[in-house]
Symmetry: C2
Subunit: 317 residues, 2 copies
C-alpha cells in the first residue's frame, strides 16, 4: 500500500481543493493507495463530509500551524514546527509516508526537502523542472526553472541525467532526447556556461544528447528534456505561461493552447532528493492535486528515486 | 538631404526585396532622402526597371562581392573588401552615407560596426534589442537579445540607458519604464548578475526604473525597456517568435498575434555605436526593408546618436 502525504493547508484554495483532489484520486485508487491528509483536522473533516470515502482509505494528521505563502522559508520552518509542511517532512523522513505533496510555500518545501530528505549522494544540486506542452499532445521537460539561478556546467550535466530519468520513467518517453538551451544551434555557441556544458553532455553516455536547441525549439518537439540554468528557464517558463493568459483574454479557443494552462499539470517533483517530493502551484485546484498524487504514485511505482541513486553511483564509479 | 545606404545583397531575397523596399520608401520620401544602393549594379538596375523612380533619388554603388550568411564574419570582411557590407561601412565611416542597413550576415555587420564605426566613447559594449508587441498596439524593447551572451552589471546598466533613449526618441515613449528581467519581483531576487545590476539601475537617475519584471511580464505592458543579458534575451525572443509559427500552423486568426511576426518590424539598430547601423532579419521582405529605412531616418532626424553620446558624457562626468 502506497502512502501519499498531502499538505492540506498549502495553496490558495486550501484545504477544499486538496480534499477534492484527494477524494477524486481515492475514488479509483483506494485499493493500492492510502492518503495521509496533513493539516487542520476540523476543516479537513468538514470538507470530507461532501464525499463518501471509506474511513480506512485515508488518515488525518492534525497540525496546528500553517506556513503562509510569503513567509521566509528557513525562519518559518524553524518557528512553525507544528506546521503542515514541517510535519509532512517529518513523516516522510521517518517513513510514515512514501511521498509528500504541497501547493504551499515553495521555498519552505525546498528547504524542507534539502534539510530533512537531503540530496541524493552525488547530486550537487537538486533541480525543479516544468512540463512543456507540445503540439502532438505529449509533454517535454524544461529544467531548471528557478531553483538554481546560477549554475555550473556540472550542475547542468546532472539536471540532464535527472531530467532524462524523469522523462523516461514518469513521462514514458523512451530514450529521451536531451537538448541544451542555447542562443544558437552550432557547437561552440553560447555564453560561457553553455559552451562549457556542451562537451559534458556530449560525452555523457547516460544521455541521448542531441545538441543545442534554441528558444524557438522549446515549445516544439525537438528535445524531450531541455536543460538550462534556473534563471533562463524561469524566464522562459513564465513567458510561455503568459501566452495562456493572452489567449484567454483574446477569447481564442484552441485545443493546444488550452494545454498552456500550466496549473492543470499540478506540480513538479524536486529531482535529486532522496524521496518523492512534489511542489504544486499556489493556485492548484482539485485537478492539479489529483495530478500531483498520480505523479507521486508513478514515482513510487517506477522506483524513480532508486533509479536516480543507481545512476549517480554509476557516474561516480 | 538624408543619405541612407542599403546593402542590396543581404538577406534571402536579395536584391529584389531590398529594391522593392527602397522604391516604396522613395515613393513618399524622395523630397528629403536619398538612397544609396550598394551591390551588384546589373542585378539592382534590372529590378529597378519595374519602378518609376526618378534617377536623382538614388545612387547605385557597385560592389563585386557578397558575404554569405554563414561565412566567418572577421575573415569574410578581411577577404572580401569589395563586398557590399565592407563598402557600406566604408561609405558610412567616410560620411558618404548617414546610416547603413543590411539584412545580411549579422556577425559581419557587428564586426564591421565595431571596427569601422566603433562604440561610442564610454559605451563598454553596444547592444542589439528587439521590438516586443504589446496588446495595446505599442512596442516595447527587449535588450540584449544575443550580441552579449555574458554580461556584467555595468553592461546591463548601459543597455538600460541605450534602450531608454531608443524607446523615447524612436518608439516615441515618454519617460520609458525600465524593467530588469528577473525570476522574481522582489528586490534581492535573481542570479548574481541580476542581483548586482538592480542597485545600479535603481541609482541611475537617467532611468525611470520600475524594478524587476518576470518572464510573464515580457509580452505585457509592464516595462517599455526590458533589460537582460543576451543569452536570456535571445532565448526569450526566439520563444516569443515561435508563438507566431504555432498560431499560423493552427490557423488562428488574431490581430495581436499577427504582430508576433517579428520579421515585419525590419531590423533593429545596433545601439551604442557612433553612427546609425541597422541589422535586419535574413528573411526580410520589402516591408521590412521599408521599415528599416524609416527607423534609420528617425534615428537621423532625432539625432539619436548625438543624444546617446551626450548621455554617456554626462554619465562619465
Amino acid at each position: 500500500m502506497i502512502r501519499i502525504g498531502i499538505d492540506m493547508m498549502g495553496g490558495d484554495f486550501a484545504p477544499l481543493e486538496a480534499v477534492k483532489g484527494a477524494a477524486e484520486f481515492l475514488n479509483s485508487n483506494a485499493q493500492t493507495s492510502h492518503v495521509v491528509m496533513i493539516g487542520d483536522e476540523v476543516a479537513i473533516a468538514n470538507h470530507l463530509k461532501a464525499f463518501t470515502l471509506s474511513p480506512d482509505t485515508y488518515t488525518i494528521v492534525h497540525t496546528s500551524q500553517v506556513i503562509e505563502m510569503h513567509e521566509h522559508p528557513t525562519k518559518a520552518l524553524k518557528e512553525k514546527q507544528d506546521s503542515s509542511i514541517a510535519i509532512g517532512f517529518q513523516l516522510l523522513a521517518t517513513g510514515k509516508i512514501d511521498a509528500f505533496i504541497s501547493a504551499g510555500n515553495t521555498g519552505a518545501m525546498m528547504v524542507g526537502a534539502l534539510f530533512t530528505i537531503k540530496a541524493i549522494e552525488g547530486v550537487i544540486r537538486p533541480t525543479i523542472g516544468a512540463y512543456i506542452p507540445r503540439e502532438d499532445g505529449s509533454l517535454g521537460l524544461l529544467a531548471d526553472v528557478g531553483l538554481n539561478a546560477d549554475c555550473k556546467p556540472e550542475n547542468l550535466n546532472q539536471f540532464a541525467i535527472l531530467g532524462s530519468l524523469f522523462a523516461e520513467h514518469i513521462l514514458g518517453i523512451n530514450n529521451p532526447k536531451v537538448g541544451l538551451v542555447n542562443l544558437g544551434e552550432e557547437e561552440g555557441k553560447g555564453n560561457i556556461l553553455a559552451q562549457a556544458t556542451y562537451p559534458l553532455l556530449k560525452e555523457n553516455n547516460q544521455l541521448n544528447f542531441i545538441g543545442n536547441i534554441e528558444g524557438r525549439d522549446i515549445l516544439m518537439n525537438k528535445a524531450d528534456v531541455m536543460i538550462c540554468d534556473g534563471f533562463t528557464g524561469n524566464v522562459a517558463l513564465k513567458l510561455a505561461e503568459s501566452i495562456y493568459d493572452i489567449v484567454k483574454r483574446r477569447n481564442i479557443k484552441d485545443e493546444h493552447f488550452e494545454r498552456f494552462n500550466f496549473e492543470a499539470y499540478g506540480g513538479v517533483p524536486v529531482l535529486g532528493v532522496n524521496k518523492p517530493v512534489i511542489i504544486g502551484h499556489g493556485i492548484s485546484q482539485s485537478k492539479a492535486f489529483h495530478n500531483m498524487i498520480n505523479i507521486a504514485c508513478k514515482m513510487i511505482d517506477t522506483n524513480l528515486t532508486e533509479k536516480i541513486k543507481a545512476s549517480f553511483n554509476t557516474t561516480s564509479a
